[in-house]
């Protein structure tokens, strides 16, 4: 029997593939790599592209990744796939947005006050109910 390695392909939101394979091909950043069993430990970033898992001579499966990280241990290959399309400027924009939201909330929290008020009222109603309950128990 041919030597096999264990392959796990996971993304942050789901497990995509897990099983034994003869060989794995992945779009590493420095060029496509093919990983056979007993490969030296390797850590690499992935480019968007196709990860191909060769299950046997006849059968192989392909998965698209939009980027991620590849880890190779002698008998284990792990592909951490990104689900989101990532780029430095997109991340930067997202950070600015989160910051802006915090500032906005500090200046204008009219929407939140109502919410808090509603909650306070609810709490009050709950306390009333509880008091009523206690009163009723005492009376009966």
């Amino acid at each position: 029997m041919a030597m096999t390695l264990h392959v796990d392909i996971v993304s942050a939101e789901a497990e995509i593939f897990s099983g034994l394979a003869e060989m794995v091909f992945a779009p590493a950043e420095m060029g496509e790599v093919g990983i056979a069993p007993r490969h030296a430990p390797l850590l690499s970033r992935l480019n968007p592209g196709e990860v191909r898992v060769k299950l046997s001579d006849k059968e192989s499966q392909a998965f698209f990744v939009s980027g991620g990280i590849l880890e190779v241990q002698p008998h284990v290959v792990t592909v951490l796939a990104d689900t989101a399309i990532r780029a430095k400027d997109i991340d930067e924009a997202a950070a600015l947005e989160a910051k802006a939201k915090a500032e906005e909330a500090l200046h204008d929290n009219s929407g939140k006050i109502d919410y808090a008020k509603a909650q306070a009222q609810l709490l009050e109603a709950m306390m009333q109910l509880r008091t009523l309950d206690r009163l009723r128990k005492r009376n009966s």
Binding site: D8, V10, S11, A12, E13, A14, E15, S18, A28, E29, M30, A40, P41, L42, L43, S44, R45, I69, E71, Q73, T78, L80, D82, T83, A84, R86, D91, E92, A93, A94, A95, L96, E97, A98, K99, K101, A102, A105, L106, N109, K112, Y115, A116, Q119, L122, L129, D133, R136
Partner: protein, 287 residues
Amino acid sequence: MAVGKEIRTQIGSIKNTQKITRAMEMVAASKMRKTKDRMEATRPYSKKISQIIKHLAYAKPEYQHPFLVEREVKRVGLIVISSDRGLCGGLNSNLFRKVLLQIRDWEQSNIEVDLCAIGNKASGFFSGINANIVGQVVKLGDTPHVEDIIGLIKIMLDAFYDNKIDALYVASNEFVNTMTQAPQLEELLPVKPHDLEEDLSGHWDYLYEPDARAVLDNLLERYIESIVYQGLVENNACEQAARMVAMKSASDNAGNIIDELQLVYNKARQAAITQEISEIVSGAAAV
């Protein structure tokens, strides 16, 4: 008949409330199943990535990443994950209480806190007490995606790179089971790899493509993101479970109140009838 009109309307209104709480309970139950599935789906990724981080700790890389270096703590970053909506029992308040205690501890040892809030409740609560909120994300809904929280995490990671904060914590609820959710506070940065089951000691290192620095930057950032995301998804499951339990007890309570009111109503009605009969009888006897 005028007897018990108030009681009848009260029973009616409580019945309406009970209908609402019962509907919310069922909605929460079905949502809980989905959120739990989602929580389980994210586990493989975080498990794998923490495994790689552990391997890394043994690989003795030639490049020391700032995330792996401990330094004196003067200011900490804290990410608080809460739900967007209320009516879920003490879920958020328990978490906030734990966070507040920790913040007070830090304050006593002169450590300042930068806060990031995920979810409406956290942002409302901590802006109410004038905490230093540096970023927030709200209204993520039931299916949060990683890209929703990237910005927030980047704020914290940038602050860590720039030495503005010296440690990063995340606070969220842990899903123990449907009845129990435990608030927890976890230290994310600096990364402390835990003990490894397999023995990988000895001198070896990864081959890095393109180079150690680029790969490690990328990997550690993803690691932090995955932990926060996992916390978010888990908190979601907690929210639904807590809401289900809270709404169930609300429906039960409403049922009890209705029973009691019904009893009071029946008694009053019977008393009125008896009184009327005795009036008629005594009237007839007088004639």
